[in-house]
Amino acid sequence: MEFKDYYAVMGVARDASAEQIKQAYRKLARKYHPDVSKEADAEARFKEIGEAYEVLRDPQKRAAYDQLGSGPPPGQQFRPPPDWDSGFEFSGAGHPGPGEEQEFAYRGDASEFFETLFGRAGFAGARPRQRERGEDHHARVTVDLEASLEGGTRTLTLRVPEVGADGRPRLRERTLNVKIPRGILAGQHIRLAGQGETLAGATQPGDLFLEVAFAPHPLYRPDGRDLQFELPVAPWEAALGATIAVPTPAGPVELRIPAGSKAGTRLRLRGRGLPAQPPGDLYAILQIALPPAGSDAARAAYQAFAAAVPFNPRAAPGA
């Protein structure tokens, strides 16, 4: 088992005060919290930090941990000495205040090192309760946009924390075939009744809630219930107006481009966005594509155009 140097994880000295540890935690949590961080390994780092803080914030756990010294020499496996924790009492209630449901985000996903030392009871707020109903579980899933456009079944793999026979938490992979409701939007939740925690002795399992996000789509970008896409048009289509076939999720439709359209113009196709209730709209954002002057004919046409139409694109104020 790998020894975890919680002081190194938090970047504090071994004799750091409780206040210093708290400050270090806050600083690191702001940097690595998965909800606010852009760091690639934010989730893993935040778990590590949360685990270190869980031990170092609690005077009893910290004292017990300090007994272990600074771990074995590099490259050697760590094994806790027998009775390493005698004389310490872990109440498991170091932190949670009035709200007993307070738990750390990494619950169920602690390192082997932490579990060996502190076990399940080491988790703040995790205390055995007699419950009628299993807990609800939450997970975030990413599906393709077509799942919402058309509805359909998708195979999702979730990592589910559960308590093993030895009383320690672990992660289990669970594969589910879920019917994605047509018209679901990013950020909405699918409620799967009875698919949450199944508790021995409880009469009712909990529910499973899936928060939906969309994988990037090659054409459409969702914005709530609306969709938008870039529609390239030729300069003469934008200048003179045209009726062109454009793709929509429900199949191509004819779209009228008004004469004098500029790049960036948003044209709305009402009701052709995500099939929510009410359905969203589809926006075509005009992009003006220039034909390359790759042939003699094209070059001649550009030259004739330049001669016929006096035009200074930098005539606008400030240019």
């Binding site: 009035p98 985000a105 699918i190 409620r191």
Partner: protein, 99 residues
């Protein structure tokens, strides 16, 4: 395809279901009732009806985010409100940038 063992689970969109009571939103988000009411007072969560408070299903996402921020970053309710506002502004700007 011969007879397949595959079971397909069908669920509902929570946000399209009935409004959530304070207790229901609390159970779903892990927030205490007092915490939810503070979030309402700060404008983080909107109620459909004030008394008794009932919430649209769309409140769940924000409530869960608020609980995580409050617990992990030890933020005050006002701090949570500011963080959520800024996160949503970043999200909006990033969407615009992707255009």
């Amino acid at each position: 395809m011969t007879s397949s063992q595959t079971t397909v689970i069908v669920g509902q969109i929570l946000e399209q279901g009935e409004a959530l009571s304070l207790e229901q939103l609390g159970a779903l988000s892990g927030a205490r009732a007092a915490q939810l009411l503070e979030l309402v007072a700060e404008g983080v969560l909107e109620v459909i009806t004030p008394a008794p408070p009932r919430f649209a299903g769309s409140a769940l996402r924000r409530a869960r985010l608020a609980v995580r921020l409050q617990r992990d970053l030890e933020l005050s309710t006002a701090g949570v409100a500011l963080v959520i506002e800024l996160l949503e502004r970043i999200e909006l700007l990033e969407r615009r940038l992707a255009r």
